[in-house]
């Protein structure tokens, strides 16, 4: 891995190809869950690797994966700010197609709805923890926050998701 990083620092395009083949789908899926927009997720994934290429020289950390996720997360954050995606992803937009999916897809959509209803500060840690299985330490490194803060964000995010889902459950059963 160190050799790969060194090659990347020297702006070796073959090294970038290797890195892309390792992480492109992971990053794409991470951003897709976060943004609920495949086109935008792919665009940001491309931008992530463009940044990886140009900023590899300033890479200090040993963990290439964490560093790439950090770039992707920052791009997603700026996208949230730029387009105010929270307003675009309203729950009502998806609810019409909700019941036309099979149960597995239903769960997927339900989860996406829950995530899109979360504020950005909770959504990112929840996705990182629950879907990408990052450790709290890795998350703290990526999000540039203390471990305790990250734990608290995940906890509060979970609480909020449960709170969001509770009325829906009640409505279905009632």
């Amino acid at each position: 891995m160190k050799e790969l990083i060194d090659r990347l620092k020297k702006k070796d395009e073959a090294a970038l190809k290797e890195v892309m083949s390792m992480y492109k789908n992971q990053i794409f899926n991470y951003l897709n869950v976060m943004l609920s927009d495949k086109g935008l997720a792919e665009e940001l994934t491309q931008d992530t690797f463009v940044k990886v290429y140009f900023k590899a020289g300033s890479l200090r950390t040993e963990s290439l994966k964490a560093w790439i996720y950090k770039i992707a997360t920052n791009l997603a954050r700026s996208e949230f700010r730029k387009m105010k995606i929270k307003h675009l992803l309203s729950l009502s937009d998806v609810s019409e197609t909700h019941f036309s999916y099979e149960s597995s897809q239903e769960n997927e959509i339900e989860l996406e709805q829950m995530l899109s209803g979360l504020p950005e500060k909770y959504r990112i840690p929840i996705i990182m923890k629950e879907i990408n299985n990052f450790s709290f330490e890795e998350m703290a490194d990526i999000l540039k926050k203390p471990v305790g803060t990250v734990k608290s964000l995940v906890f509060r995010g979970r609480q909020q998701m449960k709170f969001q889902l509770a009325p829906q459950k009640g409505g279905i059963h009632g």
């Binding site: 970038l16 789908n25 992971q26 794409f28 491309q46 463009v50 597995s104 629950e130 879907i131």
Partner: protein, 118 residues
């Protein structure tokens, strides 16, 4: 919704949702963007260099052909001591009573050694 149900939701999501793949031309798009950015950087760098050279020449020429400004006389502040200018005034008095005219004229007084004669 209890904790277990909540955790299951994520587990089911991870199991069910097969990893989506990026488009086939993903890598070529990334390299195209890299190429574009490199080009942009070159253009920016040459523009900055051009501006710097132009500014250097301009400043050089301006310094070369710049005339020294003419010395301007700066008015001295007014002295507090007022200069006394002697004022000489010739006073001529004249009068008339329709028969005779009188006038005061400057009279030259001559002194002689003989005290009895004027």
């Amino acid at each position: 919704m209890d904790n277990l149900d909540f955790e299951n939701k994520f587990d089911r999501f991870k199991q069910d949702s097969h990893l989506l793949n990026v488009n086939e031309d993903f890598e070529s798009r990334v390299f195209y963007k890299i190429k574009k950015k490199k080009k942009q950087r070159k253009v920016t760098a040459s523009a900055v260099l051009g501006i710097a050279v132009f500014a250097f020449i301009f400043i050089g020429q301006a310094a070369l052909f710049h005339k020294k400004p003419e010395q301007t006389i700066i008015a001295r502040p007014e002295s507090t001591v007022k200069e006394e200018i002697p004022v000489t005034e010739d006073v001529v008095f004249a009068s008339s009573d329709s028969r005779s005219d009188y006038a005061i004229e400057q009279v030259q007084v001559a002194y002689y050694e003989d005290e009895n004669t004027i």
